[in-house]
Symmetry: C2
Subunit: 419 residues, 2 copies
């Protein structure tokens, strides 16, 4: 036994670089402490923190899932293993409705159905090599950063939580919270538009600048459009593939979570154009599509048949109307919250093409100071912007996923606050 005392299965050391999942546990801790100390405040507490939908599923999806469950109850209509990359009828509905109907060239077999955009953005790193220089925005959806840490693409974090080797691109009011392409070279860029947490949506010129950069640098854009349904201003792109050249430099992530309300049902998809290439260590160019197909068929077994039928129903005439109504309902909340926050003298961004409002208090406060003040005085839970990176410091995020009555009440309470 002593012979082997120095041996033991190795763990992935990169995991040890990860900062503790600080944000939501810390919010929970402070909310709990507040509620214990203030039973009256606890009763009137309204949560606008986490970005989770609150309204029931569209009836078209409900009906389709009931039918699918019934199919599973009879031998003749039972479905076992499906194609790992998704059923053809769903891939076709997605490619046709979300892309070709908008003039974007996307083939059915470039659609990969999955159980979530969070999963896909992390899993896609499987097909990318370890030598890429990765760029993210600041503030940023933390999953992009943490999955790169796990994959060993970063060094250690500094005291502010920023990891070395990762390029952080600042988002400020001056650039509309959409980062400009950097001066130096990067290989992989995450762009989330409409953005979580800032609620900003990239315009055509901004996406064109990114596609130009990516083509010049032979870089790869990972375009996260999970909030695409909230794009309401005319002229704004709904897909990166509206930009010429994007098929040679971008993949796109989409989700049914925030349009069809599928956060608890779990369905999403990723578009990987067959024209997209990356290089081997030896410098040879190879398409990424076969690698992602191989990854999905080997490490995934497809999304539940019942769930895929539910997602398909969102593309029916009824389903589309119901999804539209759901999105408009949340955007209506966002408008109520924007108006309330503006009337309260807060500086507001987002909330027009996204279900998130990005807010700065009228006088400089840290994000956590603002959090505590709003919790204690308005009994409302928001998300501190600093939880999304150093670039979020001084801001906070209000989620529009709530009932209309709650949105109105939050708007009212914000106006009672004295800053």
């Amino acid at each position: 036994m002593l012979t082997y005392a120095c041996n033991m299965a190795f763990l992935n050391d990169h995991f040890l670089k990860l900062k503790a999942g600080y944000l939501f546990p810390e919010i929970a801790r402070r909310v709990k402490a507040f509620c214990e100390a203030n039973p009256q405040g606890a009763r009137r507490l309204i949560r606008c923190g986490i970005g989770d939908v609150t309204e029931p599923l569209p009836p078209a999806a409900i009906a389709a899932m009931h039918r699918a469950v019934d199919e599973m109850a009879a031998r003749e209509s039972f479905h076992g293993y499906g194609p790992e990359q998704g059923y053809e009828w769903l891939r076709a509905a997605v490619a046709e409705n979300d892309f070709r109907a908008r003039g974007c060239e996307v083939a059915d077999d470039e659609i990969f159905i999955s159980d979530g955009t969070k999963c896909d953005t992390g899993n896609f790193l499987d097909v990318l090599g370890p030598r890429n220089r990765i760029a993210v925005s600041d503030p940023v959806y933390p999953v992009y950063v943490d999955t790169n840490v796990m994959a060993g693409h970063t060094g250690e974090p500094n005291e502010a939580g920023a990891y070395s080797k990762l390029a952080y691109l600042p988002c400020r009011p001056g650039n509309g919270f959409v980062p400009e392409p950097p001066k130096r070279h990067v290989d992989v860029i995450y762009i989330c538009s409409p953005n979580n947490p800032t609620g900003a949506a990239a315009n055509r010129a901004q996406l064109e600048a990114w596609v130009k950069y990516a083509l010049e640098h032979k870089a790869l854009i990972l375009f996260d459009a999970a909030y695409e349904a909230y794009v309401t201003e005319p002229g704004l792109p709904h897909s990166i593939y509206e930009i010429p050249g994007a098929r040679d430099c971008a993949i796109e992530f989409r989700s049914f979570s925030k349009n069809g309300g599928f956060t608890g049902v779990r369905c999403a998809f990723t578009v990987v154009p067959k024209s997209l290439q990356a290089r081997t260590r030896a410098g040879e160019f190879k398409p990424l599509h076969p690698l992602w197909l191989r990854r999905m068929t080997t490490k995934f077994n497809g999304v539940s048949y019942i769930v895929q039928r539910g997602a398909e129903a969102l593309y029916s005439a009824q389903g589309r109307r119901q999804v539209r109504a759901l999105v408009e309902f949340y955007l209506g909340n966002a408008a109520v919250l924007r108006d309330g926050a503006a009337a309260a003298g807060l500086k507001i961004f987002g909330g027009i093409n996204a279900p998130y409002i990005w807010v700065r208090p009228p006088r400089p406060l840290t994000s956590w100071q603002a959090f505590d003040k709003i919790l204690n005085e308005a009994n409302v839970v928001i998300t501190p912007g600093s939880g999304f990176g150093a670039g979020g410091e001084g801001y906070f995020r209000i989620s529009a996923f709530n009932s209309r009555a709650n949105a109105r009440e939050v708007a009212r309470r914000l106006q009672e606050l004295k800053w």
Copy 2:
């Protein structure tokens, strides 16, 4: 632009080592060619190839999923994001019924609910470092090998398809198709019991030998018990945790695919004991449980609420009876197929504690020769054993997932074959 001509996002070169997914496409190609040339044979074709269930879901799961879909239709009972690692009620039902009721010490929070064992066996490599020496059986479920290739844990394959740096442990009639611990050191060992493809189930002495080896070598056992429900012989372990010491050296994968028939519904789970440790590069011992928890909360968003309610129902009194009946039905098919194959003079293994029968023709033939003969002369599709590795050459696998009528007909046709 020229400045960057030598740059481009890097792909993961390890993917290029992968042999083409040869087995099932090649089966499909030969079956298609046969059917085109033999319309009459095509009409009487029976497929016993792929390991997919054929019978409808247990009524308890159907009823539970209908209820869950209805809950999603009303605001008061709607479920958005759930815990990434699974709902507490399902984790508790699993830990209690599958482990504590059998005398195995497993806590609720050591259960991680996922969408498939295939996914989990691959994803678990995320938390293991790149320096481990990996052992697999031969023949082997190809996913274990391919995911290690993708993760860079192997070298190139030789002509027979065996990858360098991977330790292949031979399964033969002499060891009951359960490999013995190797003489040399390995860090990570995959054990699949009951086995796909051989249908062999490890006995207590064999698992004790493996746990002893793992404890001595501080190695990690990845115990795949996806077919646990088929263990019928008394005295055989149902879980690695029936073996003292296993909590310090083993994780266990389980699935609802082959007991509740969830191959198209998608639900499984992995047990990660909190006592299990692995080492850092610096030689420090750390528990793996927090790393897997972090992996799951960061790269996964939980299994569909509807599906988890379906899985929970399999543990109800009715659900358990229905699952038992389903498993006994398939085991009944296996007995029919075993009897038929034995009467036909074939050498048979497995099929008693597993839904797979592992067969050798009465005279030496390659697996593909046997495949062609059975396809052409009996119009039955089986799986060539060589598709599972060099150790499977000369064997073929018959799946018992079928109707009883088909199982009887296959048994009859096997006896008509002249070898």
